[in-house]
Amino acid sequence: MLLIPCPYCGERPELEFRCGGEAHIARAADPSAVDDGAWSEFLFSRGNPKGLYAERWNHAHGCQRWFNAIRDTASDRFVESYKMGEKRPLPGGE
């Protein structure tokens, strides 16, 4: 079971969280202006890297806040977590 760093509550057990998939996939301010190809990219295309990956997490059974976290998919190590709206930290900026 992972130990996930909630930027509000600190490290808490994975049981309390729900993963929301890849982070930083922006919803267009005006979706009607987005063409079909770009819209299906937005809906369906997600990265699957071996290594650092920015994910959305919800501390569902805790403070219930959504936040982003960078996890190494190979080791499951969490490098950093940060609040929604904050910029993704630069790689290696740990």
């Binding site: 079971m1 929301g20 919803r27 819209w39 809906l43 959504w66």
Partner: protein, 992 residues
């Protein structure tokens, strides 16, 4: 004295506490402190089981959890029987009923032993090669017979009568293993007040010191040093000591799973104690002091009962005061076995040592035992063991130069101790994702790079000397403080790796076992390699070596070494198989813990549940909820009950528990804007006091959920969701609110359980509640369909909805949950004069289907748009955006031929179609016929006097009046396409 082979003195057994157990119906005695294995040996019993494949007689190989052979079924009473207990781990105690496995009709005479004679057939990959053809024989003949003949023990057939516990625990340092290194680590780590958990799989702490009667540590006997260490740890409040606790899984972020055995060793276990407990430990740091395993030697018939590991002889003699034989031959390729020889000799047993090594390659151990008068034959190989159900001797021969085997001679023996060296127990380290490193000097894989906050100590990292182990333990427990090295008796260490003993016998006839539990011989491994299996993982699966309950703890290194030798590779190039949890077998009960029966899952019940139960309701599960399904009266069938309930609602009044509906209070100045963005509908102009049926989509444009929404005030909405969708909808809303629109001034609160919801439906509904309601004008003009009012019912505050999911005049009465039952009862009492009828979810489903109302999850399946179900008109097209809007313009969504919701009426009005049945347009087409869609809902409609069905059919709305064909269990049924509404087409009745 308990047992003919019990030594007169010594051991850690309690001679003041005799115990007796039953083994295959025979009563045997021993002492408290015995394992079942030591008790059997004390009684002269070596033959304890038959092997898995060849049904060869097998004995006790080891003295611990790595035992592959001595697996017993243990019966502790009704519902408390389980197979495959290792006799070397199970503690002897009064009342234990044990039995050997894998034989018929008896352990002594086993018909299955014919397999041993047929062994040339049962080679590696035997199943794959033999049972290939004819193909249809597999299911009916081969597999059932193989399953009947194979397998280890019998699984219990009743429910488990025991209770099991679970504990989440945290500590700064978890020390696994309480041998010399583990004790030292725990002592050092706990000095500063850190929280320490020390866990060991054995009944007592001490590890190898428990059978070491000659070493000293720091000037005192090693066992006394261990006792002092344990006493010190016990005195420290910051230390939790767990005996009989096996750390079996090492997971992410230092999460370690351990199984604690609490009552199996107790003769009269108190009822309040769980049998076992799963510990889920989160540790700041983990110290793995898990020791090492001794390797067997591979020679012909090395599996005969009476042949065991050399160190195990030492353990049985010293710890249990048992003579495993009177005439012992120790066969070894290393030094440690000489200590076993010396200890057995000291106990008065006749001992001879056979050492494969050249005299010149041996150390001081040879002189050490010769001094005591023990015969040592160096530079000798073992050709074979003699005897069948008990070893009678070893055939040995001198090894000449260039490996020439000299003249054979037979050494008589009733017990053989073998030692092929040692293998660090790196299982947990490897599970932690740590990288192993091969150490040539000790011919073993040892912990290399750690990945988690973990450190191995002592023999687990290949350090075999007692003083080294203690020093390593101190350093692991507290790396920052230098502690003086404690002096200890030097251990006899060092061995020469030998994969298979040299022999002059015909190699094709030799049965030299590598993996005892799965009956894998050296020949099988050779065959696998010759047949082209190169990867260690493939050889493992093809031969099954290392795959049984012992996971190859004793056998793996010999198997790897053999592979390397045949492939001409260095051992590290072969690699190891992956170590996976569990380290030793864990009962299902422990993994399940308390989560069984009523605690398996929460059974969510409504405030009205008790009433429904008392009134004979049948319940159905909806998510975790228990919902009243229907209320049979007398001997009514479900069909009859539902028909009666439907009629009551259509003609009089019915009462229904709708408490499980999800409810969310959406509050704030931007509440209407938020609703606009989440739902397809328009909300801005909805007046306070009015309700609207809302539909929400996922971003992909497909229907997610629906429900009636009431606007209580300009800034306050009472949203309802489906029962199953409640949590999902709130998460969905929170997700958008927090991540996409954090600027909106609105907050969401679940109020699902704040209110009990009583649906009162039917033409007489108003009359029933009229006298109970205060502060609300119930007249049709003041309180029309799709509005909400607040006031009181039975003196309790209520949010009273005038809504209907049945097509009748109806109310949904929200009252605070604790008042739900009393209000329900009051309405029911009042309604009796009107024939009020409680109804369940099945009737609700029928009534709404008659009116063509969809149920999300029944008419929709995650690929259905509003237009598909005929609700396209609800979309507020003027809104610039809402979740899912853009996707409704995707090419696939606007394409012609999508499945659309229609009604189906069967030609045979009495035929109720199957939900999920496929629909085609021409039953005479050649198969395969492309299905046009499927039936989503199908019921008997009492109001229509016939069956009705809803279906999703490609281009359905263009097919009105067409006849389509629907699959039935044995044929097709013809049905005509209609609009998806069967009763009160204009929907006038709700306005009554």
């Amino acid at each position: 004295m308990a047992g003919v082979n019990r030594l007169p003195r010594g051991g850690r057994i309690d001679r003041a506490k005799p115990v007796s157990i039953s083994f295959n119906g025979q009563t045997l005695s021993g002492y408290a402190g015995d394992t079942v294995a030591s008790l059997l040996l004390a009684n002269g019993i070596h033959l304890v089981g038959r092997s898995f494949k060849y049904h060869r007689p097998r004995g006790i190989l080891s003295h611990g959890s790595d035992e592959p052979n001595a697996l017993l079924s243990i019966d502790r009473g009704p519902g408390k029987i389980d197979p495959n207990n290792r006799a070397t781990v199970a503690e002897a105690r009064g009342g234990l009923v044990t039995a050997s496995q894998n034989h018929w009709p008896s352990l002594n005479f086993d018909v299955g032993a014919i397999n041993d004679r047929l062994s040339p057939i049962f080679v590696a990959g035997f199943y794959y090669k033999t049972f290939m053809w004819p193909r249809r024989f597999w299911d009916r003949v081969y597999e059932p017979n193989i399953r009947a003949a194979a397998g280890l023990g019998k699984s219990p057939d009743g429910p488990d009568a025991d209770r099991y516990g679970n504990r989440h625990a945290h500590c700064d340092v978890l020390v696994v293993g309480a041998g010399p290194a583990g004790l030292a680590a725990a002592l050092a780590a706990s000095e500063g007040g850190k929280r320490i958990i020390l866990a060991d799989e054995q009944a007592e702490f001490g590890g190898s010191l428990l059978h070491d009667v000659t070493s000293t540590v720091d000037g005192t006997a090693a066992q006394d040093w261990a006792a002092q260490a344990i006493a010190m740890l016990k005195a420290r409040e910051n230390v939790t000591l767990l005996t009989r606790t096996t750390a079996f899984g090492y997971y992410n972020h230092n999460h370690v799973a351990m199984a604690e055995r609490i009552t199996d060793h107790l003769e009269n276990a108190p009822d309040h104690l769980p049998r076992e407990r799963l510990w889920q430990v989160r540790a700041g740091a983990v110290i793995l002091a898990t020791g090492s395993h001794e390797r067997p030697l591979v020679f012909a018939d090395n599996d005969r009962p009476g042949i065991m590991l050399a160190e195990s002889i030492r353990a049985f003699v010293n710890r249990y005061a048992v003579a495993p034989g009177r005439r012992i031959v120790i066969a070894t390729s290393g030094a440690s076995a000489y200590r076993a020889a010396a200890d057995a000799h000291a106990a008065g047993l006749a001992v001879t040592v056979v050492d494969i090594r050249l005299e010149a390659d041996c150390g001081p151990e040879v002189a050490f035992v010769r001094q005591k008068g023990i015969d040592v034959l160096t530079s000798h190989t073992v050709i074979a063991a003699t005897g069948r159900k008990r070893v009678t001797g070893l055939i040995v021969a001198p090894l000449g130069s260039e490996g020439r085997v000299g003249a054979r001679r037979t050494l008589a023996a009733d017990c053989v101790g073998m030692s092929g060296g040692w293998t660090p127990s790196v299982h947990l380290f490897s599970q932690s994702r740590g990288k192993l490193r091969f150490d040539d000097a000790i011919d073993a894989f040892v912990p290399g790079q750690s990945v988690q906050a973990e450190r191995s100590a002592g023999a687990a990292r290949g350090s075999y000397d007692l003083a080294d182990c203690i020093a390593d333990g101190f350093a692991a427990g507290d790396p920052l403080t230098a502690r003086p090295r404690l002096a200890a008796t030097p251990s006899l260490t060092g061995f020469q790796p030998v994969r298979i003993l040299p022999t002059d016998a015909d190699a094709t006839r030799v049965r030299a076992f590598v993996d005892f539990q799965n009956d894998v011989t050296a020949k099988d491994i050779g065959l696998a390699v010759r047949e082209g299996f190169e990867s260690v993982e493939h050889v493992k699966r093809y031969t099954t070596t290392g795959m049984a309950t012992d996971q190859g703890k004793t056998s793996n290194m010999n198997a790897l070494g053999l592979m390397a030798g045949i492939q001409g590779k260095a051992l590290p190039a072969v690699g190891t198989t992956t170590f996976r949890p569990p380290y030793t077998p864990v009962t299902f009960g422990t993994l399940v813990g308390p989560a069984k029966n009523a605690l398996f899952d929460p059974a969510r019940i409504t405030p009205i549940h008790g009433w429904a139960k008392e009134h004979g309701a049948e319940f159905e599960n909806v998510g975790l909820w228990k919902r009243a399904w229907y209320f049979p009266q007398g001997r009514e069938t479900m069909h009859e009950a539902v028909a009666r309930e439907c009629k009551a609602v259509r003609e009089g009044v019915g009462i229904f528990d709708a408490s499980t509906l999800g409810k969310i209070e959406v509050v704030g100045p931007d509440a209407a804007e938020f609703m606009n963005r989440i739902y397809i509908n328009a909300w801005t102009k909805l007046k306070p006091g009015a309700c609207r049926y809302g539909l929400m989509l996922k971003e992909d444009g497909f229907i997610m959920d629906d429900g009636v929404v009431a606007r209580l005030a300009e800034d306050r909405f009472h949203v309802t969701t489906t029962t199953g969708g409640a949590a999902r909808v709130l998460q969905h809303m929170e997700d958008y609110l927090q991540t996409e629109w954090p600027d909106l001034r609105v907050f969401l609160t679940s109020i699902t359980e704040q209110y009990a919801v009583i649906a009162l439906q039917g033409p007489k509904a108003r009359e029933v509640i009229a006298p109970l309601v205060s502060d609300i004008d119930l007249s049709g003009e003041a309180f029309p369909h799709m509005t909400v009012r607040t006031g009181f019912i039975c003196g309790v505050p209520t949010r009273l909805f005038r809504v209907s999911f049945t097509g009748e005049l109806g109310f949904e009465i929200n009252v605070p949950s604790d008042h739900g039952r009393a209000v329900w009862e009051a309405i029911y009492e009042r309604g009796r004069a009107f024939g009020i009828t409680p109804y369940g979810t099945e009737t609700m489903h029928v009534l709404r289907a008659e009116r063509g109302f969809i149920i999300v999850g029944q008419e929709t399946d995650g690929t259905v748009t509003p237009d598909d179900v005929g609700l396209g008109g609800m979309i507020a097209k003027a809104k610039p955006d809402f979740v899912g809007k853009r996707s409704l313009a995707r090419p696939d969504i606007v394409a012609a031929g999508r499945k659309q919701l229609i009604g189906l009426v069967t030609d045979d009005p009495s035929l109720v179609l199957d939900e999920g049945a496929q629909i085609i347009d021409d039953r005479h087409r050649p198969v395969p016929i492309k299905a046009l869609g499927h039936v989503t809902s199908s019921y008997w409609s009492a109001a229509c006097g016939r069956s009705i069905a809803l279906a999703l059919v490609a281009g359905g709305r263009e097919r009105m009046g067409e006849t389509l064909y629907v699959t039935t269990p044995d044929s097709f049924a013809a049905a005509r396409v209609t609009a998806p509404v069967f009763f009160d087409e204009k929907g006038a009745r709700v306005h009554a």
